[in-house]
C-alpha cells in the first residue's frame, strides 16, 4: 500500500523542528540563518512558511504519477511502490527537465557545484520508509501537524476533519486529486495559494499529456516507412515507364 504524509496547517505551531530533522536526515547544514530562509532550496528540502499567524509547509509532493520521474531520460527519479519519489544522482546527467516539468517547482539544483551537481529535493525519506519507519519530519513534529501513514486512511481522516470542523478548514484536501493525486496531503484554514501553491493544476496525471503522443510512435514508424517507400516507388516508377516508352518510340516500336 502507498504511504503518505498528511500536514494539517491548523495544528502547526511553526516550531520548525521538521526543518531541522530534515536537514539532519539529509546531512545538510542547519542554523538560525538557514531557519530564517523562507524558500525551498538545494540546502533546504522542506520549509515552514509563515504569514500573519498562519503556517504552511512546503516539501516535495511526491506525486502519485510524478512528472519529474516521467520526463527523466535516464530514470534517475523514480516513484517507489511505497510512495516516495527517490533520486539516484549516479544516473543523473543534469538535463534539469525534472525542474522544468515539476508543477510545484520542487526540484532544486546545485548550481555552484562544478563537477557533480545534484538535483536536490525531499524524497519523503525513501530509505526510512523502506525500512518501515516514519519520515524524519513526522518523527520530529511535536503537535501531530505532520502525520505519516497509509494514503487512503490519511485521506479519509483529512475529510473527516473538514466534516467535523467545516468553519476551520478550507473545504479542500490539497493533493487528493491535483495532477492525479500526491503522496503529500495538505489541510489549511486559508486558501493554498496564500502560500504559493498553484491553483491552476489539472486533475489528470501530467505524464499522460506526453504519453498520449509518445505511445503513437511504435505505430507511426512502420506506417511512415511504408508511406515514404510507397511515394518513392510511385514517383520513380512513373519515370521508368516514361523512359521505357521513349525508348520504344525511338526504336520504332521494335525492341
Amino acid at each position: 500500500m502507498s504511504k503518505a504524509i498528511l500536514y494539517d496547517a491548523t495544528l502547526c505551531v511553526g516550531c520548525k523542528l521538521c526543518e531541522q530533522a530534515c536537514a539532519e536526515k539529509n546531512q545538510l547544514a542547519y542554523d538560525d540563518r538557514i531557519a530564517a530562509e523562507q524558500v525551498q532550496s538545494e540546502h533546504k528540502f522542506t520549509v515552514v512558511l509563515s504569514k500573519d499567524d498562519k503556517f504552511m509547509r512546503r516539501l516535495c509532493m511526491n506525486c502519485n504519477e510524478p512528472a519529474c520521474a516521467s520526463v527523466c531520460p535516464v530514470g534517475a527519479l523514480e516513484k517507489t511502490p511505497l510512495g516516495p519519489v527517490a533520486y539516484d544522482a549516479y544516473k543523473c546527467m543534469g538535463c534539469r527537465y525534472c525542474m522544468a516539468a515539476c508543477p510545484f517547482g520542487v526540484p532544486k539544483y546545485e548550481w555552484n557545484n562544478v563537477l557533480t551537481p545534484k538535483v536536490q529535493k525531499c524524497t519523503m525519506c525513501s530509505d526510512r520508509v523502506q525500512a518501515g519507519k516514519v519520515t524524519a519530519c513526522t518523527e520530529a513534529c511535536p503537535t501531530g501537524a505532520t502525520k505519516f501513514g497509509e494514503r487512503e486512511e490519511l485521506l479519509e481522516e483529512a475529510k473527516k476533519r473538514i466534516r467535523e470542523n467545516p468553519t476551520t478548514y478550507v473545504n479542500h484536501v490539497f493533493g487528493e486529486s491535483e495532477v492525479g493525486g500526491t503522496s503529500v496531503l495538505l489541510l489549511s484554514s486559508v486558501p493554498f495559494e496564500t502560500f504559493g501553491y498553484p491553483t491552476n493544476l489539472v486533475r489528470d496525471p501530467l505524464p499522460l499529456y506526453t504519453y498520449r503522443v509518445l505511445s503513437r510512435i511504435p505505430d507511426f514508424v512502420p506506417l511512415g516507412g511504408v508511406l515514404l517507400g510507397g511515394i518513392w516507388w510511385i514517383t520513380h516508377r512513373r519515370e521508368e515507364v516514361a523512359e521505357a516508352e521513349g525508348k520504344k518510340k525511338e526504336n520504332g516500336g521494335v525492341r
Binding site: 527523466c72 543534469g94 534539469r96 501530467l206 519515370e239
Partner: protein, 395 residues
C-alpha cells in the same frame, strides 16, 4: 604562411575569444556562475536557442533529401549537398552545445543504457543520435569522392534511399518531439504557446525553416563563393514555403480560436509582455509570408532572401517564446541570458559559418555532381534490379 586579417576574420576571432572565455567559466566555475539560470528558471538560451533553434535550423537536411530522393523532384538536386552539410554541422553543434548545458556532461551517454521510454527527452536523445549518424552517412559521399574511395561510395549509394527514409522518419519524430517536451507543462507554459498541437506546430515549422534556411544559405553561398545562384531552384523552394507557411498559420490561428485566445491578443490584461512577444513572432512570420506571396518580390534574389530571413527570425522567436517568454510568468522571474551564455552561443553560430566556409572550400559541395547520375542509377539498381538492367541497356 601569411594570414590576411579581413574585417570578418577579426570579428570571428573576437567572438571565438569571448566564447572560449565563456567555456572556461562554464567548466571551471560551474553552471551557476556562467549562466543566469536559477531554481525558478532551469532552462535558458542554451536549450532555447542552441538546442531548440539549432535542431530546427538543421531541418533542411530531411526536407531536401525527402524532396529529391523520395518525391523525385530532380530540379532540387544541386542544393542537396550544401543543405546536408548544413544539417550535419547543425546537429554536431547541437550535440556540443548540450555538453555545455548538461550539469554532468560526462554522463551524456547514459540514455543509451538507462532507458526511460516514457521520457520525451529520451526519445529525442535517441533520435538525434541516430539521425546524426544517418546525416554522417548522407554526407560521407562528399568526403569519399574527395579522396576517390570508390568502394565505400558504391555501398553508400546503394543504400541511399532506405537511408533517406530512415532520416525522414527520425526527423519527423524528434522535430515534433521537441514540441511534445512542453506538453507536460500545461500549468507552466503561457496559453499563447501551450497547445495540444505543439508537436504538429514544431514539425510543420521545421519544414518551413528547412526551406527558408536553404534559401538563406544558398543566397549567402552564391554571394561569398562567387557561385552562380540557382535562382529558379530557390524560387521553387519559395513557392513551397508559401504553402507550408499558409498551412502553419491557419493551424496556429484555428488553435488560438478554439482555445479562446484571440480575445487575449487584443486585450491582454496582465499579460501584455507575453502578448507583445507573441505579436513580434507572428508579425515576423506574417511579414515573411506576405512578401513571399507577391510574385514580384519572390522572383528577385533580394526579395526571396529577405522573406526567408523574416521567416527564420519569426520561428527563432517562436522557439524562444516557447522556451523562455512563455515560462516566465509562472516562474515568477524574468530571465535574460548572461554574457557568458550569449558569448558561447555566438561562438557556436560563428563556428557554424566558419565550418561551412571551410567545407565549401575544400570539399566538392557545389560541384556539379559527376556522381549524380551514377548515384541515381546505383540506388535504383539496389532496389529494382530489372529496372537497372533496362537502364543499362538503354545507355
Amino acid at each position: 604562411m601569411k594570414i590576411k586579417f579581413t574585417f570578418w576574420k577579426l570579428i570571428f576571432l573576437a567572438i571565438m575569444a569571448i566564447g572560449a572565455y565563456g567555456t572556461y567559466v562554464r567548466f571551471f566555475h560551474g553552471l551557476g556562475p556562467s549562466t543566469n539560470l536559477s531554481d525558478q528558471f532551469p532552462w535558458g538560451i542554451w536549450i532555447g536557442f542552441d538546442v531548440l533553434c539549432g535542431v530546427m535550423l538543421a531541418a533542411g537536411g530531411f526536407t531536401l533529401t525527402a524532396a529529391v530522393h523520395i518525391f523525385n523532384i530532380k530540379k532540387l538536386e544541386p542544393i542537396v549537398r550544401p543543405t546536408v552539410l548544413t544539417a550535419f554541422m547543425g546537429y554536431l553543434l547541437v550535440s556540443v552545445a548540450l555538453v555545455f548545458d548538461l550539469g554532468r556532461p560526462y554522463n551524456i551517454w547514459h540514455p543509451l543504457v538507462m532507458r526511460n521510454p516514457h521520457s520525451v527527452m529520451f526519445e529525442v536523445a535517441m533520435c538525434v543520435m541516430l539521425y546524426t549518424t544517418v546525416l554522417s552517412l548522407e554526407f560521407s559521399p562528399i568526403v569519399l569522392e574527395r579522396f576517390k574511395m570508390e568502394k565505400p561510395l558504391r555501398i553508400i549509394r546503394g543504400v541511399l534511399v532506405p537511408l533517406v527514409i530512415v532520416g525522414v522518419l527520425l526527423s519527423t519524430l524528434h522535430q515534433s518531439s521537441l514540441g511534445t517536451m512542453y506538453l507536460i507543462m500545461p500549468n507552466k507554459l503561457h496559453p499563447f504557446w501551450y497547445s495540444p498541437l505543439l508537436p504538429a506546430f514544431f514539425f510543420i515549422s521545421a519544414i518551413a525553416v528547412g526551406l527558408a534556411m536553404t534559401i538563406f544559405e544558398s543566397s549567402l553561398s552564391s554571394k561569398y563563393f562567387k557561385k552562380q545562384l540557382e535562382l529558379p531552384i530557390l524560387q521553387l523552394l519559395g513557392r513551397v514555403l508559401i504553402v507550408v507557411m499558409a498551412v502553419y498559420m491557419i493551424l496556429r490561428f484555428e488553435d488560438l480560436f478554439h482555445r479562446d485566445m484571440l480575445g487575449q491578443i487584443v486585450n491582454p490584461g496582465a499579460h501584455a509582455y507575453e502578448r507583445n512577444l507573441f505579436l513580434l513572432e507572428v508579425g515576423l512570420l506574417i511579414a515573411g509570408f506576405v512578401m513571399l506571396c507577391f510574385k514580384k518580390i519572390r522572383m528577385t534574389p533580394g526579395g526571396l532572401y529577405l522573406s526567408a530571413v523574416l521567416v527564420l527570425l519569426g520561428f527563432v522567436t517562436n522557439r524562444l517564446n516557447v522556451s523562455i517568454t512563455g515560462m516566465e510568468a509562472q516562474a515568477g522571474v524574468r530571465y535574460l541570458p548572461k554574457w557568458t551564455e550569449i558569448g558561447v552561443t555566438a561562438a557556436f553560430v560563428a563556428a557554424g559559418f566558419a565550418i561551412f566556409g571551410l567545407a565549401a572550400k575544400y570539399l566538392p559541395i557545389f560541384e556539379e555532381e559527376h556522381g549524380h547520375s551514377a548515384l541515381e542509377s546505383a540506388s535504383k539498381q539496389a532496389a529494382k534490379p530489372e529496372a537497372a538492367i533496362g537502364h543499362a541497356a538503354g545507355d
